[in-house]
Amino acid sequence: MKFSPARSADRLRGDLALAVLAGLLVLLTLFSLTLGRYPVSLETILDILTKSGHASEAARDATARTVVLMVRLPRIVAAVLIGAGLSLSGLAYQTIFRNPMASPALLGVSAGAAFGASVALLLRLSTLLVQGAGFIGGLAAVTIALTANRAINARSIVTLVLCGMVVSALFQALISIVKYVADPVETLPTITFWLMGSLAKITVSDAVVLSGPILVCGLALYLNRWRIGLLALGEHEAATMGVDVRRMRMAVIFLATLMSAATVCVAGVIGWVGLLIPHLARASFGMEPGRLAISTALLGSIFLLAVDDLARSISVVEVPIGVLTALIGAPFFLLFLLRSRQGRWA
């Protein structure tokens, strides 16, 4: 191949790196399964997972099974899915808004979902209704931002971002009102804790519910990665290269919003992942859309799973994961900015 011997060597290295990442995720998952207050050995875990578990009816074994399959596994699966989902949403938003500072919360989905869930918690509704309300709130916020943008009829993407900011601010204010009105003994702490983001209460059904939107939307984004990547060059160029910019943008916003709303309604507000991970992925794996998308998802999963492991083992009282992602994410990002070359963005 006269033309690209260097390219295929490059490609091979990239693929190898991805394989290493994937392997790392698998190892981390196994490790995470061993973490927890209830003592379960690695052999027991592997036994339980491969279902050839002891047929013994001893209560301790049954509890170990419960702990591994119903307490730890859903949580780990959720962390992997949410990490990937938020990172991919962040990557998509940064691309279509041509802004390295964009995050999934840009158009107000987090604030809207948080508001919906807060109202449901205020009314002391069931967990399912809280999640549903969160989902609807998230979609509503983005819809309002998009509608406002269309009403302003601006062609500029900056207007859309501004509408998102306004909608976020509005919903944050509404959340404050909900907190003010809430019963300080029971409801207010529940709302506050929920807003800080936590994977502590993830059940098997939560993990299943989460997997739908994230896998489907994630796949849709991946399949369209090249066309979406074109949007990073700007409207005019993307259009002349064959992309229906309006429709593609709407589609990406829709998919990213679905993923983000799903994560918020199950786990509360978890920030920084969507902002930080795409930068890491770009810096390590370059801009080739396929590798970028996969590495973003893998890095996101690994990051959130590691942080969640930390959240539940760092002290007796569990630290809300949203707090940790900010505490770890912010300095990490600063370090990354200090190290990265200036030429990285125009």
């Binding site: 927890g36 207050r37 209830y38 003592p39 209560a59 049954a62 509890t63 419960t66 702990v67 119903m70 307490v71 730890r72 002391r124 003010y180 009105v181 809430a182 019963d183 300080p184 003994v185 029971e186 409801t187 207010l188 702490p189 529940t190 804790f193 502590a200 209460k201 059940t203 098997v204 539940r312 007796v316 009282v317 569990e318």
Partner: protein, 336 residues
């Protein structure tokens, strides 16, 4: 100074003392603050943990003096059963520390009762007669009742209560003390929605009732938060929850099905009378008896418990409760 002058001065002094008496007495509250309160207390405002403090007044037979109502999030049916007149009274507190100070002042209270020190200080500064009550150790309730009895002119009733409290403790000790550790089951009082044990006092009455409270770690903090795995590791044999909704949660959730308490159907809802029995309430002696009845059913039967309850409410709350009402209290609140 002549003799007659001395006598006039002495007489004047005595008159002044008598007059001073009519202007009220000085009390020292449980934070060491000095508060001037009139002799006859006709109007009492209760703030903060309103149902708990109301309970104190019920037991002293002074529910007539309550001038404020119950905030909706703290209201309980049985508060209104014991004091129906509370229904129409004005509510003077809202969300966290949100006191309607002007409303409180306009109620012209003779004394304001609170169990929060910051509230006491703040209202004291603007001249209201605020008495701070403290109940941290279980025995504090006796001193608290003694102070209140003094203020409200019901020292005898306060003494009666203290005696009943001690007597109940002695009775229960007699039953429980002989039990060896092996016969004391693992007990967990838990708020399942938030995975916390919200009130330290539960560790005390669980232990007194012959159980081993899994959250008894000698902590200073009021509540303790733990993880689901921790709860599974503790594997309590008896679980106590605050409402029926939580009991249902305990039985329905597949993750709890292997816990001994769930398998043995020993998840109990804490009764709720004037207040939730599991928390600090004037009904604490009943809490103790009830706890024995669920932890060691062979030592205290349901009939005995119900009889005790009827007697208590009759004697201290001056209210005859029907069998249905007793059962209702025992069933606990429905839940949120």
């Amino acid at each position: 100074m002549t003799d007659s002058t001395k006598r006039i001065i002495a007489a004047l002094a005595m008159v002044l003392c008598l007059v001073a008496q009519a202007w009220g007495r000085d009390f020292v509250d449980m934070a060491g603050r000095s508060v001037a309160i009139p002799d006859r207390v006709a109007r009492v405002v209760t703030l903060g943990a309103v149902p708990v403090i109301n309970g104190f007044l019920f037991a002293l037979g002074r529910r007539d003096a309550l001038v404020n109502g119950l905030p909706s999030e703290l209201a309980r049916k049985f508060q209104y059963v014991f004091a129906p007149e509370l229904a129409g009274k004005p509510i003077v507190q809202g969300a966290e520390k949100g006191l309607a100070v002007e409303d409180i002042v306009s109620l012209k209270p003779d004394v304001v009762l609170t169990m929060d020190l910051a509230t006491a200080r703040k209202l004291g500064e603007i001249g209201l007669p605020v008495v701070y009550l403290r109940w941290t150790a279980p025995e504090d309730v006796k001193a608290l009742m003694a102070l209140l009895g003094d203020i409200l002119g019901r020292s005898k009733e306060a003494g009666d209560y203290a005696a009943y409290f001690d007597e109940t403790m002695t009775r229960v000790s007699a039953l429980i003390d002989p039990l060896p550790p092996a016969l004391r089951p693992r007990v967990l009082y838990v708020n399942l929605r938030r995975l916390t044990q919200p009130h330290r006092i539960a560790d005390w009455w669980i232990a007194k009732a012959g159980g081993r409270s899994m959250t008894d770690d000698g902590r200073e903090q009021e509540s303790l938060t733990f993880s689901l795995e921790q709860m599974l590791n503790w594997d309590p044999e008896v679980m106590i929850v605050a409402d029926q909704g939580e009991a249902k949660m305990a039985y329905d959730d597949p993750r709890f099905q292997n816990i001994s308490a769930v398998r043995g159907r020993r998840v109990h809802v804490a009764p709720a009378g004037a207040h939730l029995w599991a928390n600090r309430t004037i009904e604490q002696p009943l809490t103790l008896l009830w706890a024995v009845s669920v932890i060691h059913p062979e030592l205290v039967s349901q009939e005995r418990l119900k009889a005790e309850m009827t007697a208590f409410y009759n004697r201290f709350f001056h209210k005859s409760l029907s069998r249905d009402q007793i059962d209702e209290i025992l069933a606990g609140s429905i839940g949120r």
